[in-house]
Structures are given as structure tokens and as C-alpha cells.
Symmetry: C2
Subunit: 366 residues, 2 copies
């Protein structure tokens, strides 16, 4: 059962029921405009990653500013976007299970849908689903450009898989998925530059080998919020898959040269106990603000530190703390899993609730 | 929007869509029966904690075996339970916000509802809500017995707050909330025994001081899965608030003397990439299996280790791994936040899906 909205338009921020997922609309729009302006002079386009925002409303706001489509990691996310009117969706991930592929093929009746593969048996599974649905599915080859997770090695193994796709009556070869996830969070710019330079070498080489075999790459996709300027400048990538840029989080803020975006996403929490001097206990623990990338920061209380998260409690220590019954904005450690904890965005501007948007793909893991 | 059920009754476990929350019904029923048998000869009763299971179905199964009611941490959890037919619910936590207290007071028309306080202003807020709703609300005083989180100190501060409650026309003094959360996970039994002995001293002293002022404690509540035998044997506590015992997790299994319950809760994950020898990538990362208490264990593959979780991917290393397209059971690091990620329990017995139960209070954080 979805949770009821924690606010109504027109309310003051302090009246919002806690914990709540707050979107500072001025900062959010600034971030969308900034990314559009940064990519405009380059040859790359934005295909924003919806694993961060999980919302057709956000997706369409990105596309109105020039994004060519959206990425997702899961078929269930693709469904939520397509049902919400998003016309072009890339599953930037492998999908193997026949039931999932049947759902994805069904979706291609209402949206342009593509998916990745890194194994011949995966290609065969996509082929079978496309044939059964009577459609042609676009498939990208994922290459491992340094992340060490999924993907075939750049070069001949990628070319072989691409030829397997291109040779199928039911599939279309769509290009390369070349994402270096862990590079986003390397703290020093020279570390990130070195990682992306190496990723660019392997990707460029693979694109050239494919061209020699007569295979063009309509999409060469990759990059995230921590490195997208490097990929955009490389001349190799055609699409940038940044997601966090719209919201930002405490982890990206820890990079030595944080990306040029404002903190737009917060968890609004309330103080529900103040048992001793120098201590305030919030109604937001790690169920409300996941801690996989560190504890949240306390916004607007420079002397306050969020020192510990249990399931439903967050403990603040400090000299000047919010008082019992007051609310406070937390900056999540990691925006993606935080958004996925909530059914609603509460959009605020200058202290007032302006809108409520459903997190339509909340929990869409299948 | 809730996610669709990932299975249907009668399916084989391998056919369940992944990731999915699996409940091994034989182990689950064993755990419920075991707890009932362990508490039967004692003077304490079980008030199981629903922050773990978030399900009226589970709650009523516990109550059929003798549990006197349920605990919750949040008003929204209390709502989900009361709407599902649970007749007796303690919010084992402070509630301060007037809107939340109004919802709790409204709920007391259909269930017996009580709540905790650790501050006179909190008592005043509960009083105002009870008066406005025209009901009497039962309030427990939370004492800090070593957890260092919420609660007044044992002894005179607790007595003063209890007298404040007992003196109100709209409130009933319900007893003490005396929970030592962090003691559950101390690895060695003598560490846990020492922590609970100290908690018992402070609680016993407070109960006696209250009695001297003419105030009885109908409920003295506390304890969790890691220590409940100590509290049950103490003669101090009347109610045990264990939750995890029904499911278990990898963290409790790391105690030197794990509690006498079986692993009943799993996340079923599928291998969606097998890019290199010795590596398998699952479709379950930390969105599917929260890692606040460590990475999950891989069930049934003794040589396989879950070495890393990203948002949607879990990487296994090992010699003998599940193959591409196969499913595998993961033992979550921490059962509470894991359950809260899913809309459905898939109940399985001997390899077949037997039932689907909604996680009715999924995301109920307000």
C-alpha cells in the first residue's frame, strides 16, 4: 500500500509530516538548466538515469531541456516511466529472465525501448522475447571499461557479441554501453581523469573495430555525475547517463572538486526526543536515510552532527541543535536509495509546498 | 504505486521473479512456536515488534501463539496493523507531532493503543490529542537503561514524568518502556548479560519507587531477540518486544551464541551477468538487501561470497557459483530494513510458493 502524501500544496515546510522527501525546486531547476547548458556546446546528449529519480515527472522535465531519453536499471523502472509518458528508455543493464524480457518487449509497443547484453545466452534470450512479441528489440553491448562489474572486455569480444546481435532478424545492434561507475566517486580530479582516459581508449578502439566490420554505434553511452565532463569532452561517448546531478548528495559533495550542482534533495526529519543537553533524536534513521554511502549531513545547523542511525532513529550531537518538535533538513549520504524509500516528493520553494509528485518507480526492483 | 506480486501460489521457487522477499514457512512457524514455548513457563509475555515484519498477517500468527499484542515505532505502522485487525498496539517510541498524535488518537477507536513519552512537553502533546479526540490514551514512560538514545534516566526523573501522566484526566499511566537495543548485538553472552543486569537494576528500582508513590506498572516492556531470555528470567519485565526472532538475519547469526531460531527470511536474487570465471553478478544490490549491518550471505553455495553491493547489483566471488539465469537465496545482513524494501512476502514451503502476504506497513515511516 502506498503511503499517503505527507503534505498539501500551500503548506509551510515546517508543517510537512516527517520523515519526508523534500525537493528544493529552485535548486532542482538550476541543476537541470546547468546540465543542459554544459552539454549544449558538446556533441553528447543527456540520457538521464532514472534509477536516481524514479519519476516520469522528473524525466519529462529533463527531456524538455534536451535530454534524448532516460536510462533505467530494471524492467519495472522502464514500465513506470513508459506508463508515465516517457518515450525513449534504455535499460542500461543486462536482463536475462524470460518473464522480464516479455514485459520489456510488451513495453516496446508504447515506447522506444532498448537493453544491454554481455553474453551470447543473454542475446538469445532477448531474441526469443522479441520474436515471441513480434517486435524488433535494440540491444547494446556492455563493455567493461574499468568498473569490474558486468560487461565483456573492449575489442574483439565486444565485436563478436555485436555481430551476433546484428545477425539476428529480431534484434537491432544499438551501440555500446560503457559506464565506469566507481570512477564517479574517486575524490581527486586526476584520479577520475585517468580512469576515464583509460575507459575512452578501450571504447574508442571498440567503436573503430566495429566500424571496420560495418557496424555503426548509434549510441555510445556512459558517464555519471562525477565524470560526465570528461566523457562529454572525449569525442567518444554520444550519450551521458548522469542521474544524481539533478539532486546531489553528501557523497558527491566530498569529491575534492564537487560537481557544479546544488543540493536539491533533502529528508525532512523531526526531533522526537531531546533526552540530554547536546543530544537530539530525529524520527529518521537508516530506513529513512540509507547509510550505504555514509551518514547524512545536517543542513542549516553547522554545529550539529548526525552521529548514528538505527532503524527509525537518528541521533544528533552538537551545541546548537533543533529543539524538540522542530524539523530539520538532512542531506542524504546517497540520493538514489534515499529516493527509493519514499512514495512522494514534496516540492518546496521559498518555504512553501508547491507540488507533490509520486515516486512512481519506488521499489521497482524486478 | 505498490509493485505487483512476484509470484503466484503453486509456482516453484525458481520461477519467482527476482529480487523477491522469501519467507521459508517451515522455519518461520518453527520460530514462532519456539518463542511461545520459551516464554510459556515465564511470567513474561510476548509483544512482538512489528517494525521487523510490518504485516498484520504475521502479527496475528504471533498472537494466535500467545503474544499479547504488537509494538511499532511509527504511527503509520500502528495504522497498518489496526486496519489489518490487530487489537493491541504499543508505539514503543516517542510521538510529538500533533498531526501524528491526532491520527493515533483516532486509531484508538478500533484498537487498544498506547504510546511512550520521555518529556513533559511530549506528555502535554499526547494529552491535548486525547482531549481533542475525547478518549483516554495510555502512556508509558521510556527510561534509558543503557542504550543512550531516548528516555529519561531511571529513578526520580521517571517517577516525576509518570506522576505527570497519572495526574491527567485524559491519560492513563501504562508503565515503563525499558529497551536496551544495542545490547542485542554484543557478540559475547557475558557482555549481554552484564548490560541487561544493569538495565534490570535501574528498571527494578524505578518500578519500586513508582509503587511507593502508588503507581503500578501494568507493562514493563523491553528486550529483543539477542537478550530476551535474560529479561524474561529477571522478574522485572512483563513484556518482551522481540521482532527479529521470527525471521533472523546474518547479523544475529554472528553472535557467539546465536539465538535458537532458524533463518526464515531470504532475498531471492537472480544471476544477470557472469562476465568472468569466479564472478557472478546478481540483480540484488543494496536497494534490495540493505547493508547497514553488513553484506548478505549466500545460502546453499558455501564457496560463494557476496563481496560488494552497488545500487542494483550484487557481486559474488567464488569457485562454485550459481550460473547465469539461476536464482539464489541471500541471507540479509539485517532483516528489518530488508523487509521494508518489499511490497510482498512470498511464502514458500518445500520448494513451492504457498502464499503471498502484503508488507502492509512497507514505507510506513511517518
Amino acid at each position: 500500500m502506498p503511503q499517503p502524501p505527507p503534505a498539501e500544496p500551500g503548506m509551510r515546510e515546517e508543517e510537512v509530516d516527517t520523515p519526508a522527501l523534500l525537493l528544493d525546486l529552485d535548486a532542482f531547476e538550476h541543476n537541470l538548466d546547468t546540465m543542459a547548458a554544459l552539454l549544449a556546446p558538446t556533441s553528447t546528449r543527456l540520457r538521464a538515469h532514472a534509477k536516481t529519480h524514479k519519476s516520469p515527472v522528473v524525466a519529462l522535465a529533463q527531456m524538455r531541456r534536451g535530454a534524448v531519453g532516460q536510462c533505467v536499471q530494471k524492467v519495472a523502472e522502464a514500465e513506470a516511466l513508459a506508463w508515465g509518458g516517457v518515450p525513449d528508455i534504455l535499460v542500461s543493464n543486462e536482463v536475462i529472465a524470460p518473464r522480464k524480457l516479455a514485459r520489456l518487449a510488451a513495453l516496446s509497443r508504447i515506447a522506444r525501448v532498448s537493453v544491454c547484453a554481455d553474453d551470447p545466452s543473454g542475446v538469445a534470450a532477448i531474441e526469443a522475447a522479441a520474436e515471441a512479441a513480434g517486435i524488433r528489440m535494440t540491444v547494446l553491448v556492455e563493455i567493461d571499461v574499468g568498473a569490474g562489474r558486468c560487461g565483456v572486455p573492449p575489442g574483439p569480444p565486444a565485436v563478436a557479441l555485436a555481430e551476433r546481435i546484428a545477425g539476428s532478424r529480431h534484434l537491432v545492434f544499438g551501440g555500446l554501453q560503457a559506464y565506469h561507475g566507481s570512477a564517479q566517486h574517486r575524490r581527486r580530479p586526476e584520479e577520475r581523469a585517468a580512469a576515464i582516459a583509460e575507459a575512452a581508449d578501450g571504447t574508442r578502439r571498440t567503436v573503430e573495430q566495429l566500424r571496420q566490420r560495418g557496424l555503426d554505434c548509434p549510441i555510445v553511452g556512459g558517464a555519471g555525475t562525477g565524470t560526465f565532463a570528461l566523457e562529454a569532452a572525449s569525442g567518444v561517448w554520444t550519450e551521458i547517463q548522469a542521474g544524481s546531478y539533478a539532486f546531489m548528495d553528501a557523497d558527491y559533495a566530498r569529491n575534492a572538486d564537487p560537481p557544479p550542482f546544488r543540493q536539491a534533495l533533502f529528508v525532512l526529519a523531526g526531533v522526537m526526543s531531546a533526552p540530554r543537553g547536546g543530544v537530539a533524536v530525529l524520527d529518521a534513521g537508516h530506513k529513512a536515510v540509507p547509510t550505504d554511502s555514509g551518514l547524512p549531513l545536517v543542513h542549516g545547523f553547522p554545529g550539529a552532527t548526525y552521529v548514528g542511525a538505527s532503524d527509525e532513529h537518528g541521533t544528533l550531537h552538537g551545541e546548537a541543535l533543533p529543539r524538540l518538535g522542530e524539523v530539520v533538513r538532512l542531506v542524504p549520504g546517497h540520493c538514489d536509495p534515499t529516493v527509493d524509500r519514499y512514495d512522494w516528493y514534496v516540492g518546496v520553494r521559498r518555504g512553501r509546498v508547491e507540488c507533490l509528485w509520486p515516486v512512481a518507480a519506488r521499489g521497482a526492483m524486478a
